[in-house]
Symmetry: C2
Subunit: 191 residues, 2 copies
């Protein structure tokens, strides 16, 4: 938890409490409503502080969003393990074993992608967790380009499943999807 891992600043306990309350309210409201529909005012009300306090601590709605909504945890180590079968394993983890919160976070991020800060964060996370570690392990020609294209394939699938379509209840269909699309990822991993 954020408030346990950071040393508490002496003499400013109420400020720390306010920040934690704002973080908690913002995480919940951004994930529930998406970026556009969440207002600083609503987050401030839920955190029982004045909106000016939110701006003083986090600068802007974009700043608060990027401090509270993160895809990093869901992507960490996702390219680990043998290259053989990696395409399918990446999709199993993302598509079959991700929680609803991870899906909503992705949806909130894509929904705010016309903000430059959000775009930069999105690209940097994808590079750090997928493109870069994968490109270092690929053999054959164009390893960097192939790794970036695998990342694009993944983003396209998550757009389809988590942003554009309603949740799919048909498990057999989702498993077929993981197998078929995993094969398309694998051809760029193997060449």
């Amino acid at each position: 938890m954020e408030h346990q891992s950071r040393p508490r600043r002496r003499g400013r306990p109420s400020s720390t409490r306010a920040q934690n309350a704002i973080r908690e309210a913002a995480t919940r409201i951004f994930i529930e409503r998406g970026f556009s529909a969440a207002s600083i005012r609503d987050i401030a009300t839920a955190a029982a502080v004045d909106p000016s306090i939110v701006i003083r601590h986090f600068g802007s709605k974009e700043g608060l969003f990027l401090e509270t909504v993160s895809v990093d945890e869901g992507l960490r180590g996702i390219t680990d393990g043998p290259l053989e079968g990696l395409g399918e394993r990446i999709l199993e983890r993302l598509v079959l074993r991700s929680g609803e919160e991870q899906q909503r976070v992705f949806r909130a991020l894509v929904g705010a992608i016309d903000r430059a800060e959000v775009r930069t964060y999105f690209e940097q996370s994808a590079n750090r967790h997928v493109s870069q570690p994968l490109s270092q392990r690929l053999e054959g020609p164009d390893p960097e380009l192939r790794a970036e294209l695998v990342t694009a394939q993944i983003a396209g699938l998550l757009m389809k499943l988590w942003v554009l379509e309603p949740p799919c209840e048909d498990k057999a269909r989702v498993e077929r999807l993981v197998r078929i699309y995993g094969y398309a990822l694998q051809v760029l991993i193997d060449v």
Copy 2:
């Protein structure tokens, strides 16, 4: 042109003129600034009408957006021609031969994707022009699912090239990309 293809309504010439002026201003401003940063007020000012006129004719900012910003032209017939080599041909058309306006329209649409109307439009266009015509032509198992996954691959690549990254000036790199990613599309077309 919009104002030439529609019969002019008798007795309401000024209304038609206003609508055309609003359409032209909206197309330009949405493409230049994206959905969020474009305001009804700015569009009304550019069209020399009152903002209430914009709302009366188009209902909402989302409504005006979807009436003026369209990906249909750029996608029409994109799955035509022999299935052999189709993956690469789709990408040649989209990546190598698309104009800057098409890229900006896509970017504006993705930037507004947290609006349900925009999401629905985006998905319907992709279905109408890519998934449906392709699935009708595919042989082998799961033609519908494979066609939808090709569409997801394409969306992921356009996200990368047109939304997340600055324009790539390195033509050799873009041509390699079309060849490599075209191959990944083709494996889902051929199975």
